[in-house]
Symmetry: C2
Subunit: 339 residues, 2 copies
């Protein structure tokens, strides 16, 4: 890196002290308008660009948020990232993004890196296998606030923003029922995830509210791999009374379930109605789409998480907070056009 212009250079040229220059640049009210003008003019002329690394160091603040998500290829997260960035940018922060790729060890390494870089706060969607929240507790203890999004951390004790999964599960199931389905399966998320259970409970509640008996064999937990979904579909279709409607945990499960039908049981493709979480743009291009999707506002989740994080960062450094926010943003049921 070539050494750029510093406030020292400006001070020298203007025969002022560096502190005056610094203050002028930071609009300190104790500086006269004239001086301020001259400094800024010269700064402009010399292409002065403040060295953030030096500021961060001096201020013990990096104006940086760490964002940890499982996978950027999942558009759910891509939207969330944008939400976080929107708020961050607005407040003069920037975001460093890392992907855990659903790997717990990687996740921990990322946390380390973020500590080294002294991020001012962290937003994380933990991996589907994350059980031990210790690394994140440590952040809290270091005074670095943490907000979780999407996936609920084990053991609570973290600020947390997600969709209203129960309500969404209810709406998705209820929609199928209102469409006349009576045998409704649920391809639920991994057993280990609280989100899975929330959606599952919504599903059960909708059945109950509509007087439809719950059948255990119609619920299959999948592991978020295509093979897992195929297996679950196979089992469902072998039942004596197979489902005519399926509510899925997530976009990609719907896609894979449809793909399974297309390749293995094309005759059923028109017969089984789907609803599911997630309303990604790609659904628009499918021939066989779900009847309806539960739109999770992941952008807004990102925004809200960032807002909470900023709130935490501005609180004065008491020890760990005693109370944690848990926000559930409403979902929206979107009915898809079918040609």
């Amino acid at each position: 890196m070539k050494k750029g212009v510093t406030i020292k250079d400006i001070a020298k040229k203007l025969h002022m002290s560096v502190s005056t220059v610094s203050k002028a640049l930071n609009n300190d009210p104790s500086i006269s308008a004239l001086t301020s003008e001259r400094v800024k003019a010269l700064a402009q002329e010399l292409n002065y660009v403040p060295n953030e690394a030096a500021r961060h160091f001096k201020l013990s603040r990096t104006f940086t948020l760490g964002l940890i998500i499982p996978d950027i290829l999942d558009q759910y997260y891509a939207f969330a990232i944008n939400g976080v960035e929107a708020v961050a940018e607005q407040r003069g922060y920037h975001v460093i993004l890392s992907q855990s790729h659903e790997d717990v060890a990687t996740e921990q390494k990322i946390v380390d890196v973020m500590v080294r870089h002294r991020v001012d706060g962290v937003i994380v969607s933990v991996t589907k296998n994350t059980v031990d929240m210790q690394p994140f507790r440590k952040l809290l203890q270091m005074g670095i606030p943490v907000v979780c999004i999407g996936r609920e951390p084990k053991g609570g004790m973290f600020d947390f923003v997600t969709s209203d999964n129960h309500e969404g599960g209810f709406a998705a199931t209820d929609f199928l029922i209102k469409k006349g389905h009576r045998h409704i399966a649920h391809l639920m998320g991994p057993e280990g995830m609280r989100t899975s259970h929330a959606r599952y409970e919504g599903y059960k509640a909708a059945l109950e509210a509509n007087g439809i008996p719950f059948r255990e064999e119609l619920v299959k937990a999948v592991d978020l791999t295509p093979e897992g979904t195929y297996r679950a579909m196979e089992e469902l279709l072998q039942l004596a009374e197979p489902p005519t409607g399926i509510f899925t945990f997530k976009n990609y499960i719907t896609l894979e379930a449809l793909h399974y039908l297309k390749t293995q049981r094309p005759e059923l493709l028109e017969k089984i109605g789907f609803t599911g979480f997630g309303n990604l743009p790609i659904l628009h291009y499918l021939d066989h789409k779900p009847l309806a999707s539960i739109e999770e506002s992941s952008f807004e989740i990102g925004e809200e998480a960032a807002r909470i994080l900023f709130e935490r960062m501005s609180e004065k450094d008491e020890e760990e907070p005693t109370q944690y926010h848990s926000r559930q943003l409403p979902c929206r049921l979107v009915v898809h056009d079918h040609l």
Copy 2:
């Protein structure tokens, strides 16, 4: 930010000087094994984490790459990001990512931010409207190397990594011809982009190689909006001799063209064969897919760009380089299964 443990703390406890501690931590050979051990042990015990902000400041290097892309929601870029990160991580660098959202003003602001943060190098895929490369030239002048990916910068003079667009255009067109198509249209990219022209030239070359006359009216430039694609399709299908095969500039254009047929001219859906650039995972889930896709290895493009960038960063700071790399990574034609 709570103040963490510093090497000063370690030095005090061990009755050593900070420089000794620093050297021990950095495996300086001049430090005795014993001392080194003791330092590291205590560092571990105290949970010492080096303050990168301080190091960056001191070293005038941030070990940070700036990555500027139009849109993270486009999986093409998502893969490229992963490629860049893979190489960066391997070398102990991290990446700060920003999206221009195809907006030139935003792009310039991002460049400013990157300068403020003193990134050590920049990888950028310019917006589709970027004409003035001046902001990036300025980076070069400041000694911050720049590598472009995907979209070729106007006026050359930058290191540049992309797919072999000509070859890909040729292969996609040739494939349709070999399938028996004689009337092959090309939904080309924006006129302003060199990439568009390279693919277009490949298309023309394939026609010529196969003795098929080129028909100007079969080529439509689209602006990468859905509406643009619809319009182009409309025009193509109104021709006296409409195309039976269409080669598209990009995934999303294929998707939108198919969507157009689905909604407007479903009877043609099975009649028109598509090939196009991009082989995103989502294609897998489509019923009507292109016959074949030109797989661009965007992950590898990211990797290669990062490698070139590191090479540049390690060159000693002569003024701007006199010669620029221009790498075209081979594409792969992938034939899709059709049920």
